[in-house]
Structures are given as structure tokens and as C-alpha cells.
């Protein structure tokens, strides 16, 4: 039975269902319960934005607040994962990854291969990504390409509540380390979500809109901007196909290539910086594998190559928007099919 719930509730529900189903699932993070040792209410916060609220009442000590020591507790989650638990560690903001990165990219990511296939590391690291929260340079980054660069970790970034629930359940059941990226500006967005448990397999993109003129590929928040752009293009009789990648490692190359072979035109939208990004990755792959199908140069719409600015007027310019996506699509349709070098602004 489906009801309308927010992405925040969907994530809470996925954790709840998996903790109920599997006693080896433990959840840890800073203030994910809240109020530990403090004189007032227990379960006072349920995470900094309330995502894990209420889980402590149901699952008790399998939810653990941690000291402010990301290297130690993320590392402990990884170690416990190699010893039979299925930990979900919450990192609050993905920007804090810098503090504990070794445990992820030299430890968790390497074990399976480096130990000759003998180790499994079923750990999930949840973290908020993305700009638009007025949270400035150290709480707003879209660091997805940092992780897709590393073999051995899987990278997930849902754009809606339905996908968030199914992908988080899949992440917890998966036997490899998963970086689960939650866009903080999508937490409140509601859609129909079944109450029961379901898993969405990794590496399957979602085609949100069919169209034969141009393919727009994105993930996370900018999927919604891409959909807005597609509506605007449709008013000019340009039909865009919008592909939501959902998982970035593994990535669904087949769906991308299949779409580009039909449309001949590609716009990739990425909230990360332009260099070595998901956008440049997709553009390169298509250039290599579907060159013959392309009728115009691939267009990338990304954040600019600057840190996230604080001032709302600047931050709004920073995030790729629907007009710039539509504009990029139109460029692929123009006679030359090329454009001046450009950024999202």
C-alpha cells in the first residue's frame, strides 16, 4: 500500500525495516539518537535534521550516538562490517568525509580485492550532500565524483523518496561498502512510497520522461531541474528524455547509450564541479562508445569550479538551474551544435 511520504521518512522507514529484519544491522552517528548523557529527553534529536527520529524507541541500543570522532566510529563501522555486522554509519554532512577518508578509501574500499576476494565489507555510510541550504563551503558539497573515482566503493544518490527507500534497503543488504548520498534539499519532498519493504537493484537508471530529441542525464536534486527544463523544452516542441542515474557506482551505461543512440544529443547535469565529475565521466563514455550516434557536441551543465558560496544570491547561481539546462539542450539542437565554454551561471 503506497502513501505519500517524504524522503526523510522513507530513509527512516528503510532503516527501521532492515533493523527489524536483520539483527546484525546497527546504526551509528553523531546525535542520531540525541541527548545521550544529557539531563533532558532521550531520543532528543534523531539526527541533526531528524531523519532517525523515533528509531531509538523501537530498536534501543542498536542505535548508537558517537563522540565527535569520525575516523574512529566510521572506521569501527568498517571493522565491524568485516566481522559480521551490517553497520550503517551516518556522517551528517559529506564534507566531514575529509576527517575519516582513509578508513574509506584505503581500508573499506580495498579489502575485498587486496585480500584476494576473501573479505566482505557490508557497511553503509550515509551523508547529506548538496547546496541550497545556505550552509556555505564546508557543509554543501556534492562530492560524489570523489567516491566514484575509487574502485571498491558503491555510490548511491537518490532523487526521491521511493528510490531512497528501495536503494537504502539494497545498500544495507549489499556486501560492499556503499556511500549513500542524501540531498538535504530533497528531504521534505514527498511521493508515493509503498509501506512494505522493497529493494531497488544498483546500476539501473530510471527513465523519468521519454523523448526523442535530446537526452538529459542527471542524479539527485538536479533531476528535478532537468524535468523542469524538459517541460520548458516541450513548450517549444523539443522532447527531452530525462534519465535519473540513481546509482553512480555502478552506473547504468546501457540506458545512457541506448537513449543517446535514439536522440543523438546529450546534456549531462551534475551538481558537482565540472572537472573529473559525473558529467565529464558520462560525456567521455558516450564520446567513446556512441560517437557515431552523436549529432552535436555533448553539453555539460555543472556547478562552477569554485567552492560553494554562502551568500544566497551567489549560492542560487551556483546550483545548475532549469533555464541553463534547457539552454544547453537547445545548443545541441542548433546548427553548429557547439557552444562557447560555459558554466552553470
Amino acid at each position: 500500500m503506497a502513501r505519500k511520504i517524504s524522503m526523510k521518512q522513507a530513509i527512516n522507514e528503510a532503516l527501521d525495516l532492515e533493523m527489524t529484519r536483520d539483527p546484525s544491522v546497527v546504526v551509528m552517528g553523531e546525535d542520531i539518537v540525541g541527548g545521550t548523557g544529557s539531563p533532558g529527553e532521550d531520543d532528543a534529536w534523531g539526527g541533526v535534521l531528524g531523519v532517525t527520529k523515533g528509531l531509538y524507541a523501537k530498536h534501543g541500543d542498536r542505535l548508537m550516538d558517537t563522540p565527535l570522532s569520525e575516523s574512529a566510529y566510521v572506521g569501527a563501522a568498517i571493522g565491524a562490517a568485516t566481522c559480521g555486522l551490517r553497520p550503517v554509519a551516518e556522517l551528517m554532512f559529506i564534507d566531514f568525509m575529509g576527517v575519516c577518508f582513509d578508513q574509506i578509501f584505503n581500508q573499506a574500499a580495498k579489502f575485498r580485492y587486496m585480500f584476494g576476494g576473501k573479505a566482505e565489507t557490508p557497511v553503509v555510510i550515509r551523508a547529506m550532500v548538496g547546496a541550497g541550504f545556505r550552509a556555505a563551503a564546508q557543509h554543501s558539497q556534492m562530492l560524489t565524483p570523489v567516491f566514484t573515482h575509487i574502485p571498491g566503493v558503491k555510490v548511491v544518490c537518490p532523487s526521491n523518496a521511493y528510490d531512497a527507500k528501495g536503494l537504502l534497503i539494497q545498500s544495507i543488504r549489499d556486501n560492499d561498502p556503499v556511500i549513500f548520498c542524501e540531498h538535504k534539499n530533497l528531504y521534505g519532498l514527498e511521493c508515493d512510497v509503498p509501506a512494505e519493504s522493497y529493494a531497488i537493484p544498483f546500476g539501473e537508471a530510471n527513465v523519468l520522461r521519454d523523448g526523442g530529441d535530446v537526452t538529459i542525464v542527471s542524479y539527485g536534486l538536479t533531476v528535478h531541474r532537468a524535468m523542469e527544463a524538459a517541460e520548458a523544452l516541450a513548450r517549444d516542441r523539443v522532447e527531452a528524455e530525462v534519465v535519473d542515474l540513481r546509482t553512480l557506482s555502478p552506473i547504468d551505461w546501457d540506458t545512457i547509450i541506448d537513449s543517446v543512440e535514439r536522440t543523438g544529443r546529450l546534456v549531462v547535469v551534475d551538481e558537482a564541479h565540472p572537472r573529473c565529475s559525473i558529467a565529464s565521466d558520462v560525456a567521455a563514455f558516450v564520446g567513446q562508445n556512441a560517437f557515431g550516434a552523436l549529432k552535436a557536441g555533448v553539453q555539460m551543465v555543472t556547478a562552477p569550479h569554485v567552492p560553494v558560496p554562502f551568500s544566497p544570491v551567489l549560492e542560487d547561481l551556483y546550483i545548475p538551474n532549469a533555464p541553463s539546462i534547457a539552454e544547453a539542450a537547445r545548443r545541441t539542437l542548433s546548427p553548429t551544435g557547439t557552444s562557447p565554454r560555459s558554466i552553470a551561471a
Binding site: 533532558g40 563522540p67 576527517v99 562552477p304 569550479h305 569554485v306 554562502f310 551567489l314
Partner: protein, 332 residues
């Protein structure tokens, strides 16, 4: 320090310095109380962590510093900025995201910096300031200028590896580095007594081979005297030290925090009994060194200063689109 010694009364500061310390604390308090109100009105974007209740720590330490001494601050940095001499108008404009802000609107509350004042930046990453302060201390040591580097860290952030590694580095390099633990009892909603396994930071410090001192951080004079001793020692090549200031936080972790993890009546109680500014005022007035009227005049000036800072911040220009792409080494 123009007054003669006789006018100091029972205090280790001159009358002028007492008035200066009071002005710093009162300015911080007015700044924070005003942000609290304006945030609730929806005027201020982003995360804002207020320093109200903790003023004696910033003032008691910064009274010993020159612009050439460096501090590395935290997410709760407004008080450190004001006490280190950062312009209040520029701070307010920064918090409002204006181009006249201390960081031209690019940093916001969590990243206010003014290197010309020795303020190396508030910081959004817990524990990140400690290695940076070691770097400032190293620079002072290499130059031999007698300067110090001071790292502020919360009780919660004192559990970061960066902080603990910095204690050791400062000790083995014998740096003029000072680690101020601002212990307000909470890290977000989590109790310090749960999250830090030792009772005293003196034990932590001695575990790393440096001296530690604990003071009542709501007592300006206790902070001032302990900091003075530690800073003098560091300037003379005596090496690093840790200063724990036990203090209280008047507002939530950040603005918008309902604070249900605190005891009922806790905030009212600490406001009534542990207000560092009121305690300071009572002591200096009682000692007959300054008059109530003098302090009230400072109160009035602080209110006016903040009012003016808010008014001019609101009227200041916003950054323009071109500013998005400046101050970075290359644009693509």
C-alpha cells in the same frame, strides 16, 4: 593601560582594561542576542551558532593578545572574532551575505576570518583549527617573534583525532601553542560527561606531556589570570599548554534548536546564576573601581553599535554574479 597602579583596586588589570574587557563581552552579548531575534524573524540564512554565555573565555584570553598573535576558531566563532578585534560591521554584513562582509559574503557565520587581526577563521569542521594553530605557533617560533598560536575547541570537538594529534605535535615540537577547550557541557545535544571519558582535561593534557589548567570559564578574572600565565610561558619558549574553560551556553546548539535534551529550567537557572557579564559587573562595581553608570554607558554604546551594524548590513549591496567566480585560482 594608562591608569596608575593605584587605580587598579584588587584587579590585575588597569581601569581602562577593565572597561575594555567589559565592552568586548557586552558587544558579543548584544551581537548574539540580536542575531537570535533576527534569525527567528527569518532575516538570517544558514546555520548560526551563538556564543552568548561564553564571553568571559574569549575576552579573558584575547585581552593578552596582539594582532600578530593568531587564533583558530570554531563554528561558534562570533565571540572570538569580536574579542580579537574583527570589525563588527563587517561581521554582521558577512552574516547577512553582503559584499561588504568580512569575507565579501562568501563565507557566512561559520567562516568569518580577518587575517590582519590574527583571526584565522571560524571553522565548519570540528577539530580543524588545532593543526592550523600549531602552524601559526610554528611560524612564530621560526620567526622568533614571541607570538603564540591559540586553538579554540569545544568539549565535543576535543574528541577529534586532529585535536589530539595536535597536542602531541605541539609538545614534541615545543611550540608556543595553546589549546583552549571551551567546555559548555554539550556537543549539539550530547553531554560532555558521556562523550569524554576522563573527568578532567588536565588528565588529557598530561597524557600528552603538556600542562593543563581548568578554570571557571564564566569567571573573567579566572580565565584572564590562567591565560596570562600560559601565554607568558609560551612566549618565553616554555612550550604548549591546555586551558579548559568550564562554561555555559545560553542558546541552543544552533538557532532553531528546541533543546529538549536540556533539563527543565536549566537555561533560566544558568542565566540567573552564571551570567559571566553580570558577575564581572558586580565585582568591579563592588570594588569601587568603576561605576554602574560607566558600564551602563558601554551597554548603550554596544546596543547602538549592533543596531547600526544591522542597519548597515541590511542596506549593504549584495555580491554580484561576477563574484561567484573570483578568488579561486582558475575558472573552467
Amino acid at each position: 593601560m594608562t591608569d596608575d597602579l593605584a587605580s587598579q583596586g584588587p584587579f590585575p588589570l588597569s581601569r581602562d582594561d577593565l572597561l575594555k574587557a567589559y565592552r568586548i563581552m557586552r558587544t558579543i552579548r548584544e551581537f548574539e542576542e540580536r542575531l537570535h531575534i533576527d534569525f527567528a524573524k527569518g532575516d538570517i540564512p544558514g546555520f548560526v551558532h551563538l556564543y552568548a554565555g561564553e564571553e568571559a573565555s574569549a575576552a579573558g584570553i584575547m585581552m593578552h593578545l596582539k594582532d600578530s598573535d593568531r587564533i583558530a576558531s570554531t563554528h561558534r566563532g562570533h565571540g572570538h572574532c569580536i574579542a580579537k578585534g574583527v570589525d563588527v560591521h563587517e561581521m554582521m554584513a558577512e552574516i547577512y551575505g553582503r559584499s561588504t562582509g568580512a569575507c565579501r559574503g562568501k563565507g557566512g557565520s561559520m567562516h568569518i576570518a580577518d587575517l590582519s587581526k590574527g583571526m584565522m577563521g571560524a571553522n565548519g569542521i570540528l577539530g580543524a583549527g588545532a593543526p592550523l594553530a600549531c602552524g601559526a605557533a610554528l611560524a612564530a617560533k621560526v620567526r622568533g617573534d614571541g607570538g603564540v598560536g591559540i586553538s579554540f575547541v569545544g568539549d565535543g570537538a576535543s574528541n577529534q583525532g586532529t585535536f589530539l594529534e595536535s597536542l602531541n605535535l605541539a609538545a614534541v615540537w615545543n611550540l608556543p601553542a595553546i589549546f583552549v577547550v571551551e567546555n559548555n557541557g554539550y556537543a549539539e545535544s550530547t553531554s560532555r560527561n558521556w562523550a569524554v571519558a576522563v573527568d578532567s582535561y588536565i588528565d588529557r593534557a598530561s597524557g600528552f606531556g603538556l600542562p593543563g589548567v581548568t578554570v571557571d570559564g564564566t569567571d573573567f578574572f579566572a580565565v584572564y589570570e590562567a591565560a596570562g600565565e600560559i601565554i607568558r610561558r609560551a612566549r618565553e619558549g616554555g612550550g604548549p599548554a591546555l586551558l579548559e574553560c568550564n562554561m555555559v551556553r545560553f542558546f541552543g546548539h544552533f538557532e532553531g534548536d528546541a533543546q529538549t535534551y536540556r533539563a527543565k529550567g536549566e537555561v533560566e537557572a544558568i542565566r540567573a546564576s552564571r551570567d559571566c557579564i553580570r558577575m564581572f559587573a558586580e565585582r568591579v562595581i563592588e570594588a569601587g573601581v568603576v561605576s554602574r553608570a560607566e558600564l551602563e554607558a558601554i551597554d548603550k554604546e554596544a546596543t547602538e553599535l549592533i543596531e547600526d551594524a544591522v542597519r548597515s548590513a541590511k542596506a549593504a549591496p549584495l555580491p554580484g554574479p561576477a563574484d561567484l567566480l573570483t578568488d579561486v585560482y582558475v575558472s573552467y
